[in-house]
């Protein structure tokens, strides 16, 4: 399901941004069109690159696609589930990042090097925060598999969920290269991170990269929605619908943030992430069996 629906979330964001800008905006399914078009094109490879450059996009789709198998959607449980699967989930996204970065470095371009450097910096700070958010959820649900984490039964504490949710939203923006951390719209400024890393990819490779980023955004949004949507509807269909609605709202939120905020200076980003970390620690401490 995620494999099909993921690019639609990009459409929601684009429509929201268009709404704020007073434009009509691209069609809702534009990301699908983009990917389809890219897949039909030929490719250009730099003479500097090696097989690593070509392996990058393939591994990205592989890792992001595999991560989709671990995450439940509403009451639709994940196909693969075991204690600690959230760790594998996290590290699969790590593999994706590793390969995006080394594929970028393979071009030998200073632009891509710069983007890669920032990517590893910010994600190194974001990773523990993401884990702390998950831990706060794990502490209140007493489970360490994504299926259990995301089927939290009442009594569910609102305070930690809100704190962790806020923290997670920052991580979502940071990991998916959205404003205020990165600007997905620019292509050739020295300020950007993710877009510059994939500058030399073209054709199907770039299509894979775009698809991989859609999947990643989808996954983070899903974790975010489940974090703030703690109740369990009795009818399974309702729950799935609610989750879908939540995804839509998340998309609108991301779009809103992008429309009303400017990109932060790069030096400020670590502070933003540190703030998210503080929120996550608070969420962990104020969870069930609270120490505070």
């Amino acid at each position: 399901m995620a494999l099909i629906c993921a690019p639609a979330l990009m459409g929601v964001i684009a429509k929201t941004k268009a709404f704020f800008a007073g434009r009509k905006g691209p069609p809702f399914l534009q990301t699908y069109y983009d990917i389809a078009k890219l897949l039909r094109k030929g490719a250009v490879y730099s003479t500097t690159t090696s097989w690593v450059f070509k392996a990058g996009p393939v591994v990205c789709v592989g890792a992001a696609g595999a991560a989709c198998f671990f995450i439940p959607f509403g009451t639709l449980g994940a196909p693969i589930s075991f204690t600690g699967d959230v760790v594998l989930f996290m590290y699969l996204l790590g593999v994706m990042r590793f390969f995006t970065v080394i594929a970028a470095l393979d071009t030998g371009s200073a632009f891509e090097g710069m983007g890669a450097s920032r990517e590893v910096f910010f994600s190194a700070l974001a990773e523990p925060v993401f884990l702390l958010c998950i831990l706060s959820l794990a502490r209140s649900t007493q489970g360490f598999r994504l299926n259990e984490l995301f089927s939290a039964a009442p009594p569910f504490h609102m305070a930690p969920a809100l704190l962790a949710g806020a923290s997670l939203f920052v991580i979502l923006l940071a990991e998916n290269a959205r404003i205020p951390v990165d600007d997905p719209a620019t292509h050739l400024e020295l300020t950007m991170i993710h877009e510059v890393m994939v500058l030399d990819h073209s054709g199907p490779d770039f299509g894979f990269i775009t698809y991989g980023s859609c999947l990643k955004l989808w996954l983070f949004a899903l974790v975010f929605v489940r974090m703030l949507l703690p109740f369990h509807a009795t009818a399974p269909g309702v729950d799935v619908l609610l989750t879908a609605l939540g995804m839509g709202i998340t998309g609108v939120c991301v779009g809103t943030v992008e429309s009303v905020m400017a990109r932060l200076r790069l030096l400020r980003v670590p502070q933003l992430l540190a703030g998210a970390a503080a929120l996550a620690v608070l969420a962990l401490l104020s969870g069930e069996g609270a120490i505070l």
């Binding site: 490719a43 730099s46 696609g65 595999a66 600690g84 594998l88 030998g108 890669a116 990773e127 670590p270």
Partner: protein
């Protein structure tokens, strides 16, 4: 064959390579014969040893050998139990592969015979360290290990860095040994004997075992490379030849871990603060190790700092395990120890692999300086592939082995998180958060190392000879395969951890087994997940191939915004890549930067240097030892170099002792 006999065969196996290398010493003009004797005997003995260790690990049987020894309190007793076997297996794997590798690596070296001798002595002494079951024998083996590795570090003795590195190493290791001496003296005097069995019978009081643990932590920790005792490591490892670095980093520093784990078996009931201390040390070593690694420009030095990081991860696992045992949370104890011990094996494999890869780079280019390399993947494809596998394994990426041991520690930590005891909760949360931070930073570090050395274009005109030959290539590929096997088939392999964990924690074997078997479901899930990962990637690959087969894939230079004369110097350098992180952590790392710019209208030559020093070494240890040296040099007149004065000293000491003895008895 009785157990006794087979253990003596094991001892002969261990001594055989050293003897063979010794015999080869006179044949200085026949280097091939020396290599054949040194390597052949090491490989033979290691294979035989591996059979022993494997049997000990799989079967859980204990072999013992005992013989009287004329030393006071010493007995020549050796025991090969599953815990020893767990350390012996990676030792023999790495030593045999390393000696195979060295045949090609040391081809042009002059002092080959000596190098082989010390290498083989080092292997044998480590085998004795992990099998000794008497304090004195342990210390003797420990000292031989330290001295032979010192000699290995000195094998390029004409270089000044080697001399300095070896010197720092010698001092550090002896300070550690001093604490171990203290450890065994206190334990021995209370227990009335130096056999480990005496120690466990003695039932030390909690205060005493606390003291023992603390001195063991310092003594063993300085060998393991815990921060702040790590300063020798980043000097010694780059100075040694790469196969020795692999052995030192992969196995020798683990002897410190072995010492801690072994002492846990006889110190009585675990205490809470041991676990907390290990977790604190582990998180500091882990984070600081990887941060310091990010700032390095020398490939082998970078890897050496990563050993500090991985030792930190091992300490996190052991600390979590101790806490679990204290607070009676069996899953935390079992999984924590499993993770820590498994990481010992895993780190040996992937760090060995990375050092061998770095050695291949050094061998072909003559430099390990990251900034002068680049684009090696084209000239050294197999080394690049091996190094990539190693990098992914050390970052803890599935489907490789590093992930499995970190996964154990994560799940162990999760079990602690549910606890209502504040220390357990806080310590396990710290453990998991540091693991995640270390993981993220390790990605930064290894994308930097791999990206700069192997990808892009050559940065300077360093001549690259051909890729590693078969002797160097095969060991690297074997290690790659082992990393993958442990990563992918972990659920089949982890039951071998039952006996070692049972020995350390004294949790009943049945409970350990059931704890681990509860966990094999997760491990099988990981294998399934990795399979899905490879499957999706394969589908993507086939689609891509299908799409591109009809079209022409054009080749052009890297796009650089229309600049007309791109050259390799425009590439991002490793220093720039690491700069944001280094600057962000400037209050921990104290980086030094030197920019050479002149504010003139038409700027000429600019330069920029950055350097991350080891602040502890430069600002604490070196000033301390300089002052100490100045004070002690005042006593230099005592040592005039005249033999008859020394004889006088001996006579005076004897007389003093006699008088003391006399007074004491009166």
């Amino acid at each position: 064959m009785t157990a006794c006999n087979s253990m003596s065969a094991f001892i002969l196996c261990m001594l055989f390579p050293a003897a063979a290398a010794l015999i080869s010493l006179p044949f200085r003009l026949r280097p091939r014969l020396q290599a054949a004797l040194g390597a052949g005997s090491a490989i033979l003995a290691s294979t035989a040893g591996l059979l022993y260790a494997g049997r000990g690990l799989a079967g859980g049987a204990t072999l013992a050998w005992h013989s009287p020894w004329s030393m006071p309190f010493g007995s020549f007793s050796l025991t090969l139990d599953p815990l020893s076997a767990l350390f012996l297996v990676p030792l023999f794997i790495l030593s045999s592969l390393g000696s195979f590798y060295a045949v090609e690596y040391t081809k042009n070296d002059g002092n080959k015979g000596l190098q082989w001798l010390f290498y083989n002595v080092l292997v044998a002494s480590m085998a004795f360290v992990v099998t000794a079951s008497n304090g004195l024998l342990f210390l003797v083996a420990w000292e031989i290990m330290s001295l032979s590795s010192f000699a290995c570090v000195l094998s390029r003795y004409e270089k000044q860095e080697s001399q300095e590195a070896a010197w720092i190493y010698l001092i550090a290791t002896h300070i550690g040994t001093a604490f171990l001496l203290l450890f065994f003296l206190i334990a021995g005097s209370k227990a009335g004997g130096l056999d480990f069995a005496d120690f466990s019978r003695a039932a030390f009081s909690p205060a005493l075992s606390g003291v023992l643990f603390a001195s063991g932590l310092i003594g063993f920790g300085s060998k393991a490379g815990f921060v702040p005792f790590h300063v020798w490591l980043p000097r010694a490892h780059p100075a040694a030849p790469s196969h020795v670095s692999a052995l030192m980093s992969g196995i020798m520093i683990k002897m410190g871990i072995y010492g801690i784990v072994r002492s846990l078996t006889f110190l009585g009931r675990f205490q809470e603060w041991w676990g907390i201390a290990l977790i604190l040390i582990g998180s500091i070593s882990g984070v600081l190790g990887v941060l310091l690694a990010i700032g390095q420009h020398d490939l082998k030095k970078l890897l050496a700092y990563h050993s500090v990081e991985n030792i930190g991860i091992i300490a996190l696992g052991l600390g979590a395990g101790i806490l679990g045992a204290c607070f009676d949370i069996p899953q935390l104890a079992v999984l924590g120890f499993c993770g820590g011990l498994l990481h010992v094996v895993n780190h040996a494999l992937f760090k060995g692999l990375l050092f061998l890869g770095a050695g291949a780079v050094l061998h072909s280019t003559g430099t390990a300086h990251i900034e002068s390399l680049g684009g090696l993947i084209k000239k050294m494809p197999s080394t690049a592939f091996a190094f990539l596998v190693g990098s992914m394994a050390i970052c803890g990426h599935p489907p490789l082995n590093g992930f499995i041991s970190e996964f154990f520690i994560y799940v162990a930590g999760f079990n602690g998180l549910r606890s209502h005891h504040v220390p357990v909760f806080a310590a396990t949360a710290l453990t998991m958060a540091s693991l995640a931070l270390i993981g993220g930073l390790a990605v930064a570090c290894f994308t930097k190392a791999f990206g700069t050395v192997f990808l892009g274009e050559p940065r300077t005109a360093v001549p690259v000879r051909k890729d590693a030959g078969p002797f160097m290539r095969i060991p690297m590929f074997v290690l790659c395969a082992l990393c993958l096997v442990i990563g992918a088939l972990s659920w089949l392999l982890v039951p071998v951890l039952v006996n070692p964990v049972h020995l350390v924690t004294s949790i009943p074997e049945r409970d350990v087994r059931s704890g681990i078997s509860l966990f094999t479901g997760s491990l099988a899930g990981i294998s399934a997940g990795c399979l899905v990962f490879l499957g999706v990637a394969a589908v993507a690959f086939i689609i891509r191939k299908g799409l591109l087969s009809k079209k022409r894939a054009a080749a052009s230079p890297t796009w650089d915004c229309g600049y007309i004369a791109p050259n390799p110097r425009m590439q991002y350098t490793a220093s720039s890549f690491a700069q944001p992180l280094v600057l962000f952590f400037r209050n921990v790392l104290f980086p030094r930067q030197k920019t050479n710019t002149r504010p003139v209208p038409f700027p000429g030559e600019w330069s920029f240097h950055s350097h991350v020093p080891d602040i502890l070494l430069d600002n604490v240890y070196i000033p301390f030892f300089t002052v100490l040296g100045r004070i002690l040099s005042k006593l230099r007149w005592l040592q005039g170099g005249k033999v008859h004065v020394y004889v006088l000293y001996i006579a005076l000491t004897l007389i003093a002792l006699l008088i003391w003895n006399f007074l004491w008895n009166v």
